[in-house]
Symmetry: C2
Amino acid sequence: MEFADYLPIWGKLTPQQQERIAQAIDYRQVTKGTFIHDSSADCLGLIMVRSGQLRTYILSDEGREITIERLIDHDVCLLSASCVMPDMQFNIMIEAEKDSALWSIPACLFKELMGQSLAAANFANSLMAGHFSHLMWLMEQIMWKSIDKRLAAFLVEECALEETTCLKITHERIANHLGTAREVVTRMLRYFQSDGLVKLTRGTIQVVDLPALERLQRQEKGPAA
Amino acid sequence: MEFADYLPIWGKLTPQQQERIAQAIDYRQVTKGTFIHDSSADCLGLIMVRSGQLRTYILSDEGREITIERLIDHDVCLLSASCVMPDMQFNIMIEAEKDSALWSIPACLFKELMGQSLAAANFANSLMAGHFSHLMWLMEQIMWKSIDKRLAAFLVEECALEETTCLKITHERIANHLGTAREVVTRMLRYFQSDGLVKLTRGTIQVVDLPALERLQRQEKGPAA
């Protein structure tokens, strides 16, 4: 039962509760690009990422996107179980950004556990607090940070996630992460290139000066130029 | 013990837990403009609003503001007890927008209750889910709605809260709610005036055509003009 290592409260559950989970848990492997969850259509349950990388995002009526969170191994996500939380009203999507493996505990079972187990209820609390903090951070970025700093932060994060400074990602895709237009990303990347921060070739962005991008993302106001 | 009516889980607590709350609860009346909470400095606890109106907001390093939530009577706020939640890292401010009366349950006591009582833990869950949903709604507004629609929505909300169409509020104050610049608000209000939606006089905004503002706030894309 490898999944037990991915569920921090496992040891605090009763043998009966553990047994219920072991019977109901779903394991699946998905390829990059797989659409995993749409909270307007279903309620998947609690997701635990074993490997790979997932992205939670929202979509406007006009098809614009913005990334909310990126989940890697050992991350647990409650946003895919929004039906568990009575006051949760929003529509979040989840897709696999890389080939991924994940477990999910059905929403109805997790809800039942929250009603029986203090550990489960408080685990949900800490997950929600984490989701909330992250969303607050994101909103501060959107409100107070200019797009050059947000793009710098995205490139730094992407280098860490991909473990390379040669990023294979389209400008369109970056725009969808940041909730902006492709043209804005292209313009800013060209400006980064002229400043010696990146080198652009067809289909790739080579990060040339990672420390400079790290400095840029931390700056508080005004563009670097 | 009037506060019991304001704490939905009161009936689900043990007599001992009720007694602890009754002894520790703090009641205070504050005048409009009073600064109630700064989560970088303290951790007030769970707030229950008896009357009046509070505003939770965040502040950038440069002094810009944006309103997160507005709390009225019977609202309960967990953001003022962020120390209770291990993964909550952000700095939220709370001020009284009107003369207000509120109770607060000390953070340490509420944390203790969350560790003992399933009702308390799941109440915290539902509060967090509510705060999260609201923040998600706000982010969608900021991302996908243009400022004219957000201003229309703010004026509609303000008329409801104040129970009047004659609003005594400065353009600066509205800008702080919406996280924009005063000039942007002034320009948009003049445009609303030329369109017959409001009438501007010194220190007041008279809403002339509330139904039109309500229609405007619901529109999905593009300015009304």
